[in-house]
Amino acid sequence: MPAPALSIHDLKKTYATGTVALKGVSLEIPQGDFFALLGPNGAGKTTIIGITTGLVNKTSGTVSVFGHDIDKETELAKMQIGLVGQEVNFNPFEKTLNIIVNQAGYYGIPRSVAIPRAKKLLTDLGLGEKMEQNAMTLSGGMKRRLMIARALVNEPKFLILDEPTAGVDVELRRGMWDYLTGLSASGLTILLTTHYLEEAEQLCKHVAIINKGEIVASGTMEEVIAKHHDGSPSKDGYRGGRLEEVFLKLTSEK
């Protein structure tokens, strides 16, 4: 049986401020899955991603990426990952193409390989005409696509998307999802966090809902909805999809 793309066991994180972000999270994402990790703001989603990618130190627990422990086989684990972070985190004075090529360099990919690969990625993501422009000239949606191109330049087996469509208009979002579902169909494992629950419901095979540092539901999308959705709509006001009803039921303060 192949190793899961991501295996997390009893992961705990307490920040220096005393905030307990994760209270012993265990999670497994099979290879090739399109997995949704959902939760309200501050639930611990970004902390899990930060620990997995080496941006946050964990307090305890284990994390493996394609069977490679992030503490013992750090380089091998990181080789498998591409990250699209929540915040825009590239130098806006840098040329678009250089941002991608430099990122490839940090993975040990020489410029002779990285440049054509970066050009193809930027073209595929609709940024072909922006290659030589400084990143600061890009619109919000273009910056998001640039971050996706950057995350894919090392040809990862596991792509992590932390709220990639925040602030992106409907048309661009659809374009991004078409592109990413194509990658998913080719075998890429994708972990998605988003507040657009209807997107997660449509796109993802498996889902985990996290609240206050604990997983409160996980399984296939249909299993989770079937188990926690009682069939009745919200009593009043705006009504979302079934996943939204389940999400609110599991994470609401009331």
């Binding site: 941006l55 130190n57 750090t74 091998l76 990181k78 985190n89 990122q103 360099g105 040990g108």
Partner: protein, 260 residues
């Protein structure tokens, strides 16, 4: 990562920084060139002619090594401290490296290499300017010692700049150390005078100033004269490098100031 991939990662960090420093050459190279011209004009030409000889050589020749060293120290330090701080605080560009398989020691090497390149380049520019002011009468007693001390000094202050960059929480934090620590140490480290021209108590104070040992070794390379043994200067340099490498390794490995 295999060795070749590590080399590519290192080259990427170095290339990015070198391209940046040449792109903004008015901010990175020009200030030291102008400052050095002023130093040579005032201390060398105007005051130097009245001072006469220092340790048997004319004053202009005496101050050249110190002024070259001053350029190396300040440029190596500020380059590393600022580029690291910038990548940490502005746009979080450091995350690009942290998520990659680039190991912590290579991240340190990548950041300090830019500082070394800038320090040595600016030092070379100042040396070329000194040739103009000394009327081509610059003395090079031992080029290998000059090069060794130039590179090792740039390495020491790149490493020190990286520590500053890791700890700094604002731009003030980047500027405080050069203004209140580095500049006084450089000025009191024997750039403009021989330690033997000081009163006994001031000589003892100079001996605890690490810059003194760097200037001393560097000046030996140019003039063949030194206040203390060259080996002591080398030992101090090696000791500083070892200590700063250990501090940086600990800071980057644990993610102090970088990771939450």
């Amino acid at each position: 990562m295999n060795s070749y991939q590590k080399w590519i990662s290192f080259y990427t960090m170095l290339r990015k920084d070198v391209v940046r420093m040449f792109r903004i050459w008015v901010q990175t190279f020009l200030p030291s060139v102008i400052t050095s011209c002023l130093y040579f004009l005032i201390f060398g030409t105007v005051l130097g002619s009245r001072i006469g000889d220092m340790q048997g050589v004319d004053y202009m020749s005496f101050v050249v090594p110190g002024l070259v060293m001053l350029a190396i120290v300040t440029n190596a330090y500020s380059n590393t401290s600022f580029t690291f701080f910038q990548s940490k605080f502005f746009f979080r560009g450091i995350d690009e490296i942290l998520v990659s398989p680039t190991p912590p020691w290579l991240l340190i090497a990548g950041f300090i290499s830019g500082g070394i390149v800038r320090g040595v380049l600016v030092g070379t520019l100042v040396l070329l300017i000194s040739i103009f002011f000394t009327g081509l009468h610059i003395s090079l007693f031992n080029s290998a010692i000059i090069f060794l001390f130039a590179v090792m000094t740039a390495l020491v202050f790149s490493l020190a700049g990286l520590v500053n960059g890791v700890y700094a929480k604002s731009l003030d934090g980047i500027n405080l150390v050069p203004t209140f620590v580095l500049t006084p140490l450089v000025y009191l480290g024997g750039v403009f005078y021989s330690v033997h021209s000081l009163p006994q108590i001031a000589q003892y104070a100079t001996f605890v100033n690490p810059i003194f040992y760097l200037v001393n070794g560097f000046r030996y390379g140019f003039l063949g004269i030194a206040d203390i043994s060259l080996w002591i200067s080398l030992a101090v340099l090696v000791g500083m490098i070892a200590a700063l490498v250990a501090i940086n390794w600990y800071l980057i490995r644990t993610g102090l100031g970088l990771k939450q």
